[in-house]
Subunit: 323 residues, 3 copies
């Protein structure tokens, strides 16, 4: 019931990174290595349901200073399906609240024989700080509003699986762009792979400054819909907002929810993505979320495949460097 390790082989020579900190740094070739590896793992493990022992003996530490069940679990399952082990260090746990620095916490974890630290922190650059101070690998699982590279990669992999290529596609990121690390990682990745990116949402959540990243800015979803091959509906993070950036949820949904009427005006074969957890009736109506164009659950399965690929690549680069 487990996959033969020899099917997998060693990591590509062109991959030399011990860390994955963001998609801004990656070349087009490196992006394709991760995506190709993820597809290989997805195929070799029957949609991520079988084990493959390429990281047996290795341990991944989830160092999450912000809560996350979903991303943390996805990384844990990915590591274990590679034959490795995981330990969790949750925010608010004892050692983190005892006045220790982030680097000291991470160095202590590393000294327990850890191969890779997966880090989420509300401060942008924390994973970079760790990468500069640890000998083990570091993967960014979200640093404030900066980057969330595996989310970007799983979104891109899902589009590539359905459409074959990103080249020439028009992808709209809709909704809460301002504080979204998912938006930033998507933009870097999508543009390098040849897609045209539109960011779309109310002016309070989408500033004209985004044009500096080489993307189109829109405040009118209805205007851009007929041009889009992909709509990635970012979550309105009610739990993070003290004041709402729009008058009411109903008003937001009226202007930006993806619903049947808007689907009718969209291209044939348009893909609906959402990073979840989704607010049904806010970013997307139920018929669209559960409809044939929705690839929301494929994103989740691809998340595992992407994380298997990333863990395998960064650990492999560490091992090769040590040899």
């Amino acid at each position: 019931m487990s996959v033969d390790v020899t099917e997998i082989g060693s990591i590509p020579d062109a991959w030399t990174r011990r860390h994955l900190l963001g998609l801004e740094d990656l070349s087009r070739e490196e992006l394709n290595i991760v995506l190709d590896s993820a597809e290989m793992f997805r195929d070799a493990t029957d949609d991520c349901t079988r084990k493959i022992s390429v990281l047996a003996g290795h341990t991944c530490a989830n160092l999450f200073f912000e809560n996350s069940t979903r991303t943390r679990t996805s990384f844990s399952l990915a590591m274990r399906r590679l034959g490795g082990d995981t330990v969790d260090f949750a925010s608010g746990s004892s050692s983190m609240s005892k006045g220790e620095t982030v680097i000291d916490t991470a160095k202590n974890i590393e000294a327990m024989g850890i191969s890779v630290v997966v880090c989420r922190h509300r401060t942008p650059g924390t994973p970079h700080l760790l990468a500069n101070n640890l000998r083990c690998s570091v993967v960014n699982a979200g640093d404030g509003p900066h980057e969330h590279p595996t989310q970007g990669l799983l979104d891109i992999l899902t589009i590539r699986q359905r459409r074959g290529t990103l080249e020439g596609l028009t992808v709209a990121l809709v909704g809460d762009i301002q504080y979204s690390r998912t938006a930033r990682s998507n933009i870097w990745g999508l543009k390098k792979l040849g897609a045209h990116v539109i960011v779309c949402g109310p002016a309070t959540l989408v500033s004209p400054m985004w044009r500096e990243l080489g993307v189109e800015v829109s405040h009118n979803l209805d205007e851009i819909i007929p041009r889009c091959d992909v709509l990635n509906l970012l979550r309105i993070q009610f739990e993070r907002q003290s004041t709402r950036p729009f008058p009411s949820v109903r008003e937001y949904a009226h202007l930006y929810a993806m619903n049947r009427q808007r689907m009718d005006r969209a291209k044939d074969g348009v893909l609906i993505l959402a990073p979840g957890p989704i607010n049904r009736g806010v970013e997307v109506t139920t018929d669209v979320a559960d409809g044939p164009q929705s690839v929301i659950l494929e994103q989740v399965t691809n998340g595992l495949a992407v994380r298997m690929a990333v863990l395998w690549l960064v650990c492999g680069a560490s091992i090769r460097e040590a040899e």
Copy 2:
């Protein structure tokens, strides 16, 4: 140190259920398949201390919307002793508090390559809702006051191990019947296997309506004691009650605690069960809880055996269906 998988073989042809939602649905034959399988696993693994790799590569997700250390741990250990893996989704964790529906949460978990979801929720029917919406297996680990089938099965297995059969035995469920899922699951299982069931407790906790389930109703423990082969002392759930259904703990213990004096009036070989955690001096006195008639700790070990059997059966039925 692990058991040869070939000793176990495949699941019985008569078992076709991908889910275990309650004992009300099960036939007498199905009940016996679970109990026989549990005994097989208990024997094959030396009282559940050795591993057996029949579910290697499979992952079980514990989706507990209500707290439970004990049941969750028992399911986790059962899955891992079958060679499988587990992930926990605890109540109050981030994704569950972000306004997502239960079905969306479960579908997301399923999309991570999960074979079986073990669900506890305070709303009766939640596991049934999931079973109708997921392709993977679902096991009910307690849905409000409705059912807790593995608790019923482990109680019944413990009685069967000591007495050989349930046929003709008189089993009293004593105490907090009203809101007890354990009581309901015991009643369905015990009656199908031929036992006579008495529910006994103060009128505030035991309504005459229970007669509709075909059981005897009593408010007087002393009166029924001489007729009972088994006394299952349900926990008084102080932590769930805002107003007490009896004047004082002392008064409850006076009328319903199983103590030495009551043991002297009981049948020879009477069995004392309690689902735990027990309140010593409330439902049961220390000398009885730790005495030779008490099978309280055997219940815990049988809980593991029953959960190994259930996970093996429902996953096996899923695999067979997929083939």
Copy 3:
């Protein structure tokens, strides 16, 4: 990627303990068995990064009534690197808050087929109570201010690795001695292995009563520094103190922080230990903590090795006894 079990062999005949409750009980020979075993595991597993399957099929339960990420994780990783499995029972979890006694909780855990219980509790003697009532092994992971034997052992192992022997060394324990289980375990272990021990700190944290344990008492770090081979800088536990035992943190640091000036007056090759998490600038300045004399991170790695050795020894003694 895993170690051949036959390299390890069986536990030494001279080790007969099923429990590790404290270093006060251990003979010099037993201390050396643990230290030698820890070195063997450290070497055999490449600084605790590889697996060795000597406890395959066994499960360790972490029963922590006090919070601890670090110690708990270290035990978990140690057990899993021995091929075993772990389950956590955290303080404040449901079963523990339902009025159950500690012994009942532990017996329930044992009945799930657990081989070893690792226990932390704020009441001194709790692990001893469990050891008297369980058939499985018990390891003390800290009982109030009493003992924390694996911390003592890892401190001693770290000194022995650097200096070859403890015999004739002068070791100072500096800081918060009064409520420190680490201090007590260190004292018992160090003295049996032939070291001279000084406890040093403000009079509010270091009473003259400590002389009864056969150690030197000092309130003046500067006076003792030139004589010390090892300085073990115990953590000032701000989070446990309602009133501070010294006027200000600055004053404490002025008198007791290990800094560059004090290092200049210390012996060549003095070792700086700290159990962590460290308060930089309080017990130790950054240049010293990160300097060449600091063995703080070696302590963490040795903690894993010591816990592998302890789990292997106590489980081995249980297995031998059962045969």
